[in-house]
């Protein structure tokens, strides 16, 4: 009898162990999805793109500036597109970085705490505005305004692209750098002030250097968003595949890699050289983002190392730092000169020189208290400008969109190419896409996070998984679109369908969900786990009953952010799931659907004279996505306020 019980306990134990093994196997499987995806993406880009690159020849492909794939004698050089991508990004960074950091300083250090409480979540909310909405605003308002005020033949220019991308990147840059600045320990601030430094000296001398890694990360996030952006650039840059002449002519139209993919992929004959060249182009785009992300990682690591202290020589010696500072200053000056020359003419340079001379003189004479006042005034105006730009966009869309919102508009199908009727199928299509994507991404993402955080120690495997996840996270959305087309639509044979769109979106939001879930799991203290394990609960049981409930708010926040992103995306759906005008709802997942962002895109670019409908669609999309983000932000605040562990 006694023996029997022992035996049964032991068999129990075996099955329990097997069960644990099986469960951990499942989580390993989910954790590998991201890695497998990135390998598949690379594989398909290589498979489809490499032959074309080799056929055209690497030098002719990369360094030839003539891109005329559809002419009699086609030429497949992407040099001007690469330059276009770089130039638009530089412009965006030049706009977004000073404004963004200025505002972050203002919000973190200068503004009264009440202002900060109110503005911080608002700015986070703005980070969720879909890119197609920015593009729409750029197309309808900004390019128009530029054309009139600068007296151009067309406002669709490099400048317009950079402004729109800059504004798009601002919320992220402001929010992340503000976090970095305000999380600098209070001690540093007190120590500096106690030495007799002014507040401004404290900000520039201690706070910003201490927050440097966070601020750099913010800039890189913004940079990544700018390089990978498709829809907004496509709508405002004019898309002429030329190198601006002279190279600093910001009023020239320009065309980026992403825009080319967005425009041409839908119309190209599958299997042609042009088709393969587009995949080659996507490969180059992916490599560029890869290089940016890699160097960012290296720089961040070095900055952190330098602050914590290490035996290695400092990243840059003092003299080098000074040299770099002066070079940067020169470059900025030159940029300003060229900019003002280009926009205002020779007068611009004169005015600029006068202003600079004044500044320089001022810096010499003024006391540091007056300097502080001026600096505060500057960061205040930067913040005002940022808020103004964002409020202007929202106001424009809300005030023009409201008249379009009628019962009919929300509940009926489009007629006459969207010029009348409603957007009901687009709303439903977007819901279907998002629900499907989340339903697949959530279990996989949470599973991967559980595997990384609960089932394994840090080692080579987790490093590979994390690297795969980072790579996937940095992949431009249009590349997901191409991959979805080549793999899901053609290779797997799903066709242009709801399902293909859902899977493509899944892959795109997976990294966000994995990362936020992992953070949520990490913030659950070990004592909770140990308490449960010490009671004899299995690991799985502990996770299910103790860890996951504690981490639920964090996971939910990540999920909602994922939903918001999926709802606003256009580029990944262009060739995988959407059609423009479809009166009826899909009856199966193998049918194509309408989607709000795509509907807006086509209305804005291809359908003249549907102004109310355009604005109405933009408004619905804006409300939908920012609404989702608002829920996420509120939930996070709530979770932060309720008792901490």
């Amino acid at each position: 009898m006694q023996k029997n019980r022992c035996e049964s306990q032991i068999t129990d134990l075996f099955t329990r162990q097997n069960k644990e093994k099986a469960i951990s196997g499942i989580w390993l499987g989910t954790a590998l999805v991201a890695v497998i995806t990135i390998i598949l993406i690379l594989g398909f880009l290589l498979k489809e793109g490499l032959p074309a690159i080799l056929e055209i020849g690497i030098p002719a492909f990369i360094f030839n500036e003539i891109w005329t794939p559809t002419s009699e004698t086609p030429s497949y050089g992407i040099y001007s597109l690469i330059i276009g991508t770089i130039l638009v990004t530089i412009g965006a960074i030049a706009i977004a970085v000073p404004l963004g950091i200025g505002s972050a300083i203002f919000i973190a250090e200068v503004a009264p705490p009440k202002f900060r409480e109110a503005v911080k979540p608002a700015i986070e909310l703005l980070a969720g505005i879909p890119s197609v909405v920015y593009g729409f605003f750029g197309l309808v308002v900004l390019t128009h305004w530029l054309r009139i005020s600068l007296d151009l033949s067309s406002g669709a220019t490099w400048l317009a692209g950079s402004i729109i991308l800059g504004i798009m990147a601002l919320p992220t840059i402001v929010s992340v750098s503000e976090d970095a600045i305000s999380s600098v320990p209070k001690d540093f601030r007190s120590a500096s002030l106690a030495l007799g430094a002014t507040r401004w000296q404290t900000i520039t001398g201690v706070l910003i250097p201490s927050a440097l890694s966070g601020i750099t990360a913010a800039i890189i996030l913004g940079l990544g968003r700018a390089i990978g952006e498709t829809m907004a650039v496509l709508m405002v840059t004019g898309n002429a595949a030329i190198i601006p002449d002279p190279i600093y002519n910001i009023l020239s139209p320009i065309r980026t890699l992403t825009a080319t993919l967005g425009i041409e992929m839908g119309e190209v004959a599958i299997g042609s050289t042009h088709y393969h060249a587009l995949f080659g182009m996507a490969l180059v785009l992916l490599l560029i983002t890869l290089i940016v992300n890699l160097s960012a990682t290296v720089i961040l690591a070095r900055i952190r190392e330098g602050q914590i202290g290490s035996s290695r020589a400092p990243f840059l010696s003092h003299d080098h730092q000074n040299q770099i500072k002066s070079i940067l200053l020169l470059v900025i000056l030159a940029g300003l000169c060229l900019f003002s020359y280009q926009v205002v003419g020779i007068f611009g340079i004169a005015i600029l020189t006068a202003i600079l001379a004044l500044c320089y003189g001022g810096l010499r004479i003024l006391s540091r208290q007056s300097k502080e006042k001026i600096a505060f005034a500057i960061v205040t105006s930067a913040t005002a400008l940022v808020l103004f730009a964002l409020v202007a966009i929202i106001f424009d869309i809300v005030s023009n969109g409201l008249p379009a919102i009628t019962w009919e508009f929300l509940t009926e199908g489009p007629r006459n190419l969207g010029r009348s009727g409603g957007i009901f199928p687009a709303i439903i299509g977007t819901l279907y896409l998002v629900i499907g994507a989340i339903a697949i991404a959530l279990p996989i993402g949470v599973g991967a996070a559980i595997y990384l955080n609960e089932y394994t120690l840090e080692g080579r495997l987790t490093r590979i998984i994390r690297a795969g996840n980072d790579l996937l996270n940095g992949t431009p959305s249009i590349v997901f679109g191409l991959f979805g087309f080549a793999f899901l639509v053609i290779f797997v044979g799903l066709g242009v369908s709801l399902l293909a769109g859902q899977i493509t979106l899944t892959l795109m939001i997976l990294p966000t969900i994995i990362r936020t879930s992992e953070e949520a799991l990490k913030s659950v203290p070990d004592s909770l786990r140990h308490g449960s394990l010490a009671l004899g609960a299995t690991r799985w049981h502990t996770i299910l009953r103790v860890v996951l409930p504690a981490a639920a708010p964090g996971i939910l926040t990540g999920t909602i952010l994922g939903i918001g992103r999926a709802a606003g995306e256009t580029a990944p759906l262009l060739f995988t799931a959407v059609v423009f005008s479809k009166r009826y709802l899909p009856t199966s997942v193998f049918e194509p659907v309408m989607a709000l962002p795509y509907h807006l895109f086509i209305l804005a670019t291809n359908v003249p004279g549907a102004d109310t409908q355009k604005y109405g669609t933009a408004l619905v999309l804006l409300v939908l996505v920012t609404g989702i983000y608002a829920v996420a932000i509120l939930m996070r605040r709530h979770a932060q306020k309720t008792v901490r562990w």
Partner: protein, 254 residues
């Protein structure tokens, strides 16, 4: 005549955090070129008083005060006081060592640079002088450009003292400078404090009775926002006039 010997002096100083009063009618005279210790149970207002002297309380929202604080006979509570200049003259060392996340060298020259010094040779000289003054020069002279955060806690605290010396103050305020340190590091800092009084006036807050007895010339005992007794350290520790003081230093209260 008497005033000249006081580096700092308060008259009926009352201080409020919002509506709670943290200092009540404090009258204290801090003698020049001496070490003055402030002792008292937790929450009695020692740090608050210390922060009045270099106006660090300005940074605390809704903190208000009445009464006057004189620095070498000059009123410093007014709006017209140049706080930046005042803080340069009255340095402060904090409880937790708080070097900036910069190199050792950059930490020491931060103050002079902030006050407008640019010349590298001068800065080098100041760095060396301050680090020597804080008795840490020998330990760091070969790795001036290493990150300050890589130093031990005791070294970090001495670096912070060097950083305070670098702007050539005449008063140094120390708020429990040794509470985060081990006995050896503490001994080094105590030695340093006795040396510092040659050139500086030192005000030190401490919870450690022996430390107060060892390093200070004068001691003030505070209790619930009031300065109960102020006298030479030997009087306070050997024959205090107030019963409260006696109870406190003999450890007879909680």
């Amino acid at each position: 005549m008497k005033q000249q010997n006081n580096a700092l002096e308060t008259q009926t100083l009352n201080l409020y955090y919002g509506s709670t009063q943290a200092l009540i009618d404090v009258d204290i005279q801090i003698p020049k070129n001496k070490v003055t210790a402030l002792i008292g149970p937790s929450g009695c207002g020692k740090s608050t008083l210390l922060r009045c002297f270099n106006r660090m309380n300005d940074l605390i929202p809704d903190c208000s005060l009445s009464g006057s604080i004189l620095y070498h006979g000059e009123e410093i509570t007014g709006r017209s006081t140049d706080v930046v200049e005042l803080r340069k003259r009255i340095g402060m060392v904090f409880q937790q060592p708080n070097p900036f996340p910069k190199s050792i060298y950059e930490n020491v020259i931060y103050g002079p640079k902030v006050h407008g010094m640019k010349d590298r040779k001068e800065l080098d000289a100041i760095a060396e002088k301050s680090l020597k003054g804080a008795a840490i020069w020998e330990e760091v002279k070969d790795r001036l450009h290493d990150a300050a955060r890589g130093l031990s806690g005791g070294q970090q605290q001495r670096l912070c003292i060097a950083r305070t010396l670098s702007v050539d103050p005449d008063i140094i305020l120390m708020d429990e400078p040794c509470s985060a340190l081990d006995p050896i590091a503490t001994a080094k800092i105590e030695n340093l404090i006795t040396e510092l009084k040659e050139e500086y006036t030192v005000v030190i807050v401490t919870h450690n009775m022996q430390q107060a007895a060892r390093v200070s010339d004068y001691t003030g005992f505070m209790y619930m926002g009031r300065l109960i007794e102020f006298d030479t350290t030997s009087v306070i520790f050997e024959r205090p006039k107030e019963e409260l003081t006696e109870n406190y230093i003999t450890g007879r209260f909680g």
